[in-house]
Amino acid sequence: MKVSVVRNILEANEALAQKNRKLFKEKGLFTINLMSSPGAGKTTLLENTVEALKDRLRMAVIEGDIQSSVDARRIAKKGVQAIQINTDGGCHLDANMIQNVLAHLDLDNLDLLIVENVGNLVCPAEFDIGENVKAMILSVTEGDDKPLKYPVMFRESAVLLINKIDLLPYTNCKINNINKAALKLNPKIKIFEVSCRTGEGLENWYKWIRQQTKKK
């Protein structure tokens, strides 16, 4: 006997993500799901962002990592609440993990929540956690062929930060190739070219975040 089914395999995660999304909306909270490969600069970007915006926006950070709470401590040092999630080998955060830690956050008194996903250019893109936007980082040291190799994340992200542009003179990365390929995959993607080392380009990113939180 055959039984026809038609059910989305990720339905359980998607239902929980919708619940999170609804809650964020009720609380007027803008949420960013930040993704990249390991070492592209997610935590450094967050350290900078917290420093720049914490006096103007009430913010918190959720740190996802396979193990350790190093990143959460780096953020907490900057003076905002940071919660660590350890996935214990898992390659991505899912909506359930986010829901489980939301009780630790004072959502009524927050404007901005940024989630640093597990370092990985493939898996996190498949799992909705209820965020408003997915933002991804590609650092120039990873090479300009990455959109070709990891199209899904580029398609799913609303924002692309091209980081470590201070290192451009030392690589054979052509930033224009990244821009072209990313826009081809996703014509609406918003691109920021930044250096979290020198601070170049970060003002535009901060400005964009402030505009988004005002809309909430």
Binding site: M1, V3, R7, I9, C123
Partner: protein
Amino acid sequence: MHELSIAQGILDIIRDEAEKNSIERISAVRLKLGKLTAVEPSSLSFCFELITKGTLAEGARLEIETVPITGRCAQCGREFTLEDPFCNCPGCQGLKIDILTGREFYICEIETDD
């Protein structure tokens, strides 16, 4: 990778469907998997086999039908299959292609020998 948690999701769904349809053993599961998803079929099959041991779906065949990436040219309207997500329109060389299929990821059928 994340194929293990996906295999778990599949098992949860087919268990639920088996219960609804009073099925005691599942012999095959059919899925559609778009080429624009970050899921590796062979890894998924491996994880499925692993996770169904000792369940009603032990030994079940996992039949994965991959769905090609198709798109429509925003310039000339032509619909075509994209060999990779970077193809231009074969008709007018247009660059802007709206994706039509390739993101599918769902179970379409289960089968039982009962």
